[in-house]
Symmetry: D2
Subunit: 128 residues, 4 copies
DNA sequence: TTTT
DNA sequence: TTTT
């Protein structure tokens, strides 16, 4: 609710198509990862690029938008909150997962989606 | 460098005093965790408060500020970037860690620090 | 809708009590100004503090929260969007106004509100 | 200094080429305006798009980047702070101006700049 | 582990 | 796993 307390924003590119699942009660979930690049010069004056991969997750309408518009390599801006989960894996080892749960998804760089049908969806997207 | 690409902001309270270490080359590192509270009503109309604990890390001057001013429970606003690391623990299990590496630290709620000495440090803090 | 496209965040203190109005259809509007301080050293090594005053406006429920909880000097964190308006003043001169229209309001520094009644309102606040 | 206290972020498109000036001491200044679009449905269910134009200003290296890479219509993400100035115009009328002073400028949507020369500059850009 |  |  209080987005100002816990806020993450990423601008980067999708590594792969989103993975889409549907919960038992029919709600869509999209998972994908976003690469953000940080470039700087090291002490020797060499240009270094470091890429971070962030796991993001979108629910409901945002997941539907992700499913319809996101393609591999697509540039996006997202905003959401940082959440931490843990679970016990099949070997009994406790695992910790950190994800960004989206509340905004913005397609950047114009690009692909141009058919009339997609335009309609773009319209839906604007509602997000 | 490009903070706009990878940005995290948290406003919350410290769980404990920061842990301070010094690297071999004399640089300070501060680690601490910040609680952010999210409250909402569930489907039964009950008020639910969920607390998330975020691991944050500050280097250099920010670590020194953290060491001098941060106390258990202190309210802070921080900004930084999301970084992901992994390491192999002593049992040979690969562990993943997500941290927020700070580039801003703001003490909220006025409060304690009032001595002349501390004022000087507050001054240093303003440089951060 | 797309907050990520146009986003302002301020952390600072109220200059005065909010001014509250009610529109014809009964919606509350709160206006107030927030001071943000920027301190730095100038070329002579002198510490300079510059204060900026930002006009913010809150509608509906946020205006009600502002009315009930905001006091002169209170520390707040706000998020909203930047809007620009213009009008012609009584001398026929075109005037331009820039305001921050809030969608989040966070009371910082703990403090005053403690009575049972106010607690209830805090509750409402949490909904914001 | 304390960007967290006064932060503006905009993602949108340039209305025109930046205007470039150079101060007496040789520092570049770039001014341009960015359109952000907000779309929503009104009470009649009609889709409304509102465009806001924001005046932004970049100094020094950021101004040089703006000069070299920004073109009319280009999609950008910017971050900066909100500043308010006033001056008296030639008719003796006091005028108020609000601007976003940039500290980050990110070119979105890939696109144009491809020559070797420009690549070099892109390199400079990455330093920003 | 915090805080309201 | 992306992109510039």
């Amino acid at each position: 609710m209080y987005a100002i307390r816990n806020k993450v924003q990423l601008i980067g590119n999708l590594g792969q198509l989103p993975e889409i699942r549907t919960t038992e009660n029919g709600k869509k979930v999209a998972r994908f990862s976003i690469a953000t690049n940080d470039t700087y010069r090291n002490s020797k004056g060499e240009r270094i690029t470091e890429t971070s991969w962030h796991n993001v997750i979108a629910w409901g309408k945002l997941a539907e938008i992700a499913e319809k518009f996101l393609t591999k390599g697509r540039e996006v801006a997202v905003a959401g909150k940082l959440v931490h989960r843990h679970y016990t894996d099949k070997n009994g080892i406790k695992r910790y997962v950190t994800e960004v749960v989206l509340n905004e998804l913005l397609l950047l760089g114009g690009g692909k989606p141009q058919t009339e049908y997609v335009e309609q969806e773009e319209d839906a997207l604007t509602e997000a």
